[in-house]
């Protein structure tokens, strides 16, 4: 790791100011991706602004049919929140299977969403749930937020403060973990809500998380695992690496989608 300068912020405003005043400032929440990246010397922020201790950005709130999750809420806190389990088991299950228990104690939803790793789990959930991402100065729809692999609509120095979504009628996430890293090799989140069915795929796409309109249409017409089986998954859109080629990943997307639909009931 290259040397860096550590700051701890006590409010979102302070965090943004600290990052602004740095040469190459970077927010750090749980740091479960950022620190390993820095250890490999693949990232070298001049300054780190720690937002983990900003209480106002933490917590799971369910009001009516609206769920709001503070950006620094850890995966473990999301997974274990009973009020969330009661209304959206899909995202609770997803959070409970990110990384391992120790990673879940540190890693946060805001960090995961901001990083938009193509194999991360949360982007699939937020996209499928039609969530909104709130930052220190605006609110962005998930459809507009996830731009591509490791790319989001965030501006430099913009800080995610929370994410929110409307409770779906049904939802589930099914993941095929990479046998080595345990990141998603194909993760499919299905959600059925007032605006119809949304299906988002992570881990498999060659340009990061994406929605699968074919499956959405099929499931709109017929909410069943069999309906997904008929959908076409384009191999040309799939990642190919040492763990799985595009054909295999395309197959996994279908299998995970079927399993997610079955799990959603």
């Amino acid at each position: 790791m290259y040397e860096t300068k550590y700051h701890r912020a006590s409010s979102a405003d302070e965090a943004v100011k600290l990052a602004d005043s740095a040469d190459d400032g970077q927010f750090i929440a749980g740091g479960q991706t950022l620190i390993p990246t820095m250890k490999q010397r693949l990232a070298s922020p001049s300054d780190l602004v720690d937002i983990r201790n900003i209480d106002a950005m933490k917590g799971v709130n369910v009001e009516g049919n609206k769920v709001t999750i503070g950006a620094t809420t850890t995966h473990a806190e999301v997974a274990d929140a009973p009020q969330l389990q009661a209304v959206c088991q899909g995202i609770s299950d997803l959070a409970g299977h990110i990384g391992d228990p120790a990673v879940r104690h540190m890693g946060t939803i805001g960090g995961s969403v901001a990083n938009n790793d193509p194999a991360a789990d949360y982007p699939a959930a937020l996209l499928a749930l039609g969530a909104e991402i709130t930052t220190n100065n605006r609110t962005i729809a998930a459809d507009d937020f996830f731009v591509g692999m490791f790319e989001t609509a965030l501006e430099d120095g913009e800080l995610i403060t929370s994410v929110s979504f409307t409770v779906p009628d049904k939802s589930a996430y099914s993941k095929f973990p990479n046998p080595a890293s345990r990141y998603a090799m194909a993760g499919v989140f299905v959600a059925k809500g007032g605006d119809g069915v949304r299906v988002a795929v992570t881990g498999a796409g060659s340009d990061g998380v994406f929605r699968h309109s074919g499956m959405e249409e099929a499931l709109d017409a017929n909410w069943s695992a069999d309906a997904v089986a008929e959908a076409d998954v384009d191999e040309a859109m799939m990642l190919s690496d040492i763990h799985g080629n595009a054909a295999y990943r395309a197959n996994l997307v279908k299998v995970m989608a079927k399993r997610a639909v079955a799990a959603a009931g």
């Binding site: 790791m1 740091g31 250890k39 120790a102």
Partner: protein
Amino acid sequence: MTTVSMTVNGKEVSADVEDRTLLVDFIRENLKLTGTHVGCDTSQCGACVVHVDGKAVKACTMLANQATGSNVVTIEGLANGGDLHPVQAAFHEHHGLQCGFCTPGMIMTAVDMIERAKANGLKLDEATIRSELEGNICRCTGYHNIVRAIEAAAEQTA
């Protein structure tokens, strides 16, 4: 350089370190508590697991600075004087270790696992224990006796 200060195994500690110092390096190099180990660079082996504010975390994936003000427990702080923690005793009784290198992290993970299961009213069956050990690698035991040790300790502390 920054002054970091925290409570480790019940003692107030503080030192001036480079900002890039990892918690595990602070523990090993500054505090000379060498029971916490480093077995990989990618947060996967779990040899470095310690408890920060009551939760298992990977000390190789946390800056010492992030732990300032926290209460840290390492493997050295687990036993109560001469009395082993029930999980330590179970690893001994069930031969849940061979070379011992992954053992501190395994034990710290197991303690956290058992405490969370207890708090949530969950029973730790074999499949759950194996799944909960996702972040800890052992190359010696084939996990068989680690699972037996955790089952026994969970049973005992239930």
